[in-house]
Symmetry: none
Subunit: 152 residues, 4 copies
DNA sequence: CATGAATGAGACTTCATTCAT
DNA sequence: CATGAATGAAGTCTCATTCAT
């Protein structure tokens, strides 16, 4: 039997994430209103009630995805905050690393990104908040003397 | 009867364009699926059957708007085709005039533009076709020796 | 043609009151949860969407019926308020008239009464308010010297 | 193994009566249709399949409760049947004892009583049967010469 | 030219109930 | 003894569209 000890209940989480992934895909490609629960569950080979076993409503899955995008993304930018006393020569490199990480994240999570940046009503908010956080990082870096911002 | 001579057809056309304009606004701001006929006619102070007096279906109004955008826009770019033998010194000015005309058109027709470039499923097609036509113009101009393209 | 001038739109109100009456009957006999919109419209020879043409939701028809009961009933008790200077000998007769009117109303509107007094969640409230109003009337009558209350 | 001798069947019966009691409470307070199996098992800290381990269906628990009410109640009234040759002076007392027992039963079993007398579709039947049995008792007592019924 | 009235089709959601472990 | 997971059936509600006047 070895490493196949899981059995009972093991598929609950699997079903949930399957549904979540398919939902992300549908929302990303068709928008909220054109995404049908019936399509999601059909693609997951499950029945409609199963969807409601794991999510409260269509709206709530959508919100969950938006939140997921927000938290993953802001974790990324937050981790980029530079600390005083750092080796000055490494600063530009770190900045570019963060931007690279962001674009890498976008590329690795295209559905989530589409939803977060283009589909949701909060899209504008998210973009603003993202810009602000990046800006703040840059500014705090600037204040720490790492470099000078030149606005044009 | 005297001053009641105007009438037949007059209000018909008025209602039609009113509906079309409101539809454009709704489609532009809410997308296809979230646009409801009931909202359109309410805003126009008309009834639902009246809508079907002028349009075959929701889909068909949408297509009509897409067509309108396409034709207006391509008329614009077509009219910019330069003819051989033109005064060479006026070329840069004409090119900038065309681009200005396009952006002016975008600004003057925000709803149509949103629909044509972002809402419709044909959006990608339209953008490609638009780029191509502009490119073609530039190239034909280039071939006519007006200038040299430098791709970077 | 004579007195049959009504035609267009005349049946809207008819459909509405038909649905309302049937709804009252169903709610009275089966309670809120066991009353199905599908049954109501079937009995009215109408389709489900028609129901929503006239009512916002199942809940809202129910509330409308409760309100109807309340207002009709309280109109009845309100109209019973005795005014000072009335012929004293007529007081007992008027009181009994009001009670008779109430019971007559109950008998004439059995569905509404069942809903108002037994089905709705507000039933207890309504009963209390009804008692209070009757009491108030009696007391004001008593204060006006029409008679003396003897509580036992 | 020692002190783990009690077990098999013990918890089973415990779960069963727990579910039955909660079901009674829910049915009594919300009626049949608004009572959900999911609520019952949640309150019992059990799962839905467990419910079906002990009962065949929602309907069947309901019927079981109705039967329970009926049998308990009719046991009560049956035990009140007076036998010929009894001491005549004790008759009124015994009658009042039976009525007291009935009302005591109602008070001690409020949920069952609500279900039996007000919720179930058989409510009317039960009430009739109850009246009849009480009546029969009275009549048989009357026939036995214990007293004379005076209907007004 | 216009509308009041009505509806078929289909979406989201809930619930009693079962399967497999 | 008990449960995690799943579902058929049915209910409420919405929307594009049509009929008859």
């Amino acid at each position: 039997m070895g490493q196949r000890g899981r059995k009972k209940g093991a598929n609950g989480e699997r079903s949930r994430s399957l549904l979540l992934a398919i939902a992300a895909d549908e929302f990303a490609h068709k928008g909220f209103s054109d995404t049908k629960i019936s399509t999601i569950v059909k693609r997951a080979n499950l029945s409609q009630p199963t969807f409601y076993l794991y999510f409260e409503s269509k709206e709530s899955v959508f919100q969950e995805l938006i939140q997921l995008f927000r938290s993953k993304l802001f974790d990324l930018t937050k981790s980029s905050r530079l600390e005083p006393g750092i080796d000055l020569t490494s600063v530009p490199e770190r900045i570019s690393q963060v931007l690279a990480a962001i674009f890498h994240f976008f590329k690795e999570n295209p559905n989530l990104t589409r939803i977060g940046l283009f589909v949701g009503e909060e899209a504008e908010d998210i973009k603003k908040q993202l810009s602000k956080q990046i800006m703040d990082n840059l500014i705090s870096e600037q204040e720490n003397g790492y470099f000078h911002l030149v606005l044009t």
